[in-house]
């Protein structure tokens, strides 16, 4: 199996930039520390040589940036990990960007770290972290090095990876994987098995932390409205900040509903939440309900597929039956 390294990507991108096939590259730019990698647009091989990184923190999903990037002149190269490629397809389905202006390179992925996950493992004085074979090595300021199994310490979205298959690309680097079952609905099922009261307490604790910073919405590749209803004074639900425990519930229910059937479960919402609210559990609930009641559906698996909430079957179950199934 060909291993995809920073050098592989760099060579590929440099060649495409040199040939004029693409004029820009959407890639990860190194930061101050190991974990603060920033999505960036590179315009030359030199820039990339200097700042491009590809390591365990190259987790950001670039798909949504394509809306902005394809509006510009020239073609843009984008690297798509499996989960990014689902968002890519979903955005295409919704006519959100011009496919002709993108050169997509698929890259395999076996799980990416993110800042909050690693920081949780070393809360005080995290210097850097890297992967060493099957291990994650964390260097700290005060407590020396920590060596932990890599796979077991991945963030939730990667531990419960839905697919290792890149579903859209012009060129695949490395070997493409398959759709996998990693029990991503287990946690939803656990919540469903709780009593109404317990579920309420759980979500009350989680959602009450929301500060309405909108990071979940702004990073979400399914949230691409010209103007979000929550920003639109005419919508009747516009609000800038939490004012009452109702508001954040309203915000998250509506947001989850709006992306229901369109959410590709990329997990960016939970990754970016500064309050560590497990927002993916809301979206996954919808996906789980859709799969159980209307047949398996994976948004973005196929370009042009019809999302379940803008579709129906005459023999669909009644709301009461769906409720019964979701409350064990």
């Amino acid at each position: 199996m060909q291993t995809v390294t920073r050098e592989t990507l760099l060579d590929k991108a440099s060649a495409l930039l040199a040939s004029g096939e693409v004029s820009r590259v959407l890639g990860w730019k190194k930061g101050e520390f190991a974990y603060d990698v920033t999505p960036a647009v590179f315009e030359s091989a030199e820039e990339m040589e200097k700042d491009f990184v590809y390591d365990i923190f190259s987790g950001a999903n670039f798909s949504k940036y394509l809306i902005k990037e394809t509006a510009k002149e020239g073609k843009v190269l984008v690297f798509l990990k499996p989960c990014d490629s689902y968002s890519f397809n979903q955005l295409l389905t919704e006519h959100r960007f011009d496919r002709e202006k993108v050169y997509a390179i698929g890259i395999p992925c076996d799980g990416m770290m993110d800042a909050s996950t690693v920081k949780a493992l070393a809360p005080e004085g995290l210097v850097s972290a890297e992967r060493d074979g099957d291990n994650l090595v964390i260097h700290t300021l005060y407590d020396g090095d920590k060596i932990l199994p890599y796979a077991d310490n991945l963030p939730d979205r990667c531990r419960h990876c839905k697919s290792k298959k890149v579903v859209a690309y012009d060129e695949m680097l490395g070997e493409n994987g398959d759709v996998v079952d990693s029990h991503r609905f287990d946690e939803v099922a656990e919540l469903e098995a709780m009593s109404e009261d317990a579920r309420f307490a759980f979500w009350q604790n989680e959602l009450s932390r929301c500060i309405r910073c909108n990071a979940c919405r702004d990073v979400c590749p399914a949230c691409t409205c010209e103007k979000c209803v929550f920003d639109n004074p005419k919508s009747g639900v516009e609000n800038k900040a939490i004012s009452d425990s109702y508001e954040e519930k309203m915000f998250h229910i509506i947001r989850a509903f709006h992306v229901a059937g369109r959410c590709t479960d990329c997990g960016e919402c939970s990754r970016v939440c500064p309050q560590n609210i497990p927002l993916h559990l809301l979206n996954r609930k919808f996906i789980y309900d859709i799969d159980r009641n209307y047949g398996d559906y994976m948004a973005g698996a196929e370009e042009g597929s019809r999302a379940p909430l803008v579709n129906y079957k005459t023999e669909d179950p009644e709301a009461a039956d769906v409720l019964e199934r979701g409350d064990k």
């Binding site: 759980f202 009644e318 009461a320 769906v322």
Partner: protein, 152 residues
């Protein structure tokens, strides 16, 4: 004297606020038929006319709870009978998803309901409303999706 006493009791009794969204062609007509036939149901239920059950946005339902509703029921034509062919099929999916989500967040599932009532089912309309109002009343006031600012 006795009248006054019973009045006080009645005032203290919890009276739920219930919003019923009814599609114009079937359920609203069914409600009218219940009226024609003088089939009583609790006055706690107030009907909002919409052209089709598929007009009902989840935001309306959350809004109702925010503003103090204790229960929301959505009525439409029977599946297959939608005046607009398919509206209620979309409704069925949307509301199944929404209500399932509300319940997932711990909101009592008896507070929400979807019911198909045809223009000919005045009796069913009245019976459904009676039953829904009783269930909501038994649950007591909506605390889990309330907006304290809207409480008087």
């Amino acid at each position: 004297m006795q009248v006054n006493e019973s009045n006080i009791v009645a005032n203290e009794e919890f009276r739920p606020k219930i919003v019923a969204f009814c599609c114009n062609w079937c359920s609203y007509a069914g409600a009218d038929l219940a009226g024609n036939n003088r089939l009583a149901y609790p006055a706690d239920i107030k009907i909002i006319r919409v052209p089709c059950s598929c007009r009902v946005n989840p935001m309306f339902i959350l809004r109702a709870f925010q503003r103090g509703a204790d229960g929301v029921i959505l009525c439409g034509c029977h599946p297959g009978d939608c005046h607009y062919t398919s509206g209620n099929y979309y409704t069925r999916r949307r509301m199944a998803m929404l209500f399932s989500m509300l319940n997932y967040l711990g909101i009592e599932k008896e507070r929400t309901r979807v019911e198909w009532v045809s223009a000919a089912e005045g009796a069913k309309f009245a019976a459904t409303m009676q039953d829904f109002a009783e269930k909501v009343k038994a649950l007591g006031p909506n605390k889990r999706l309330e907006d304290l600012r809207c409480k008087q």
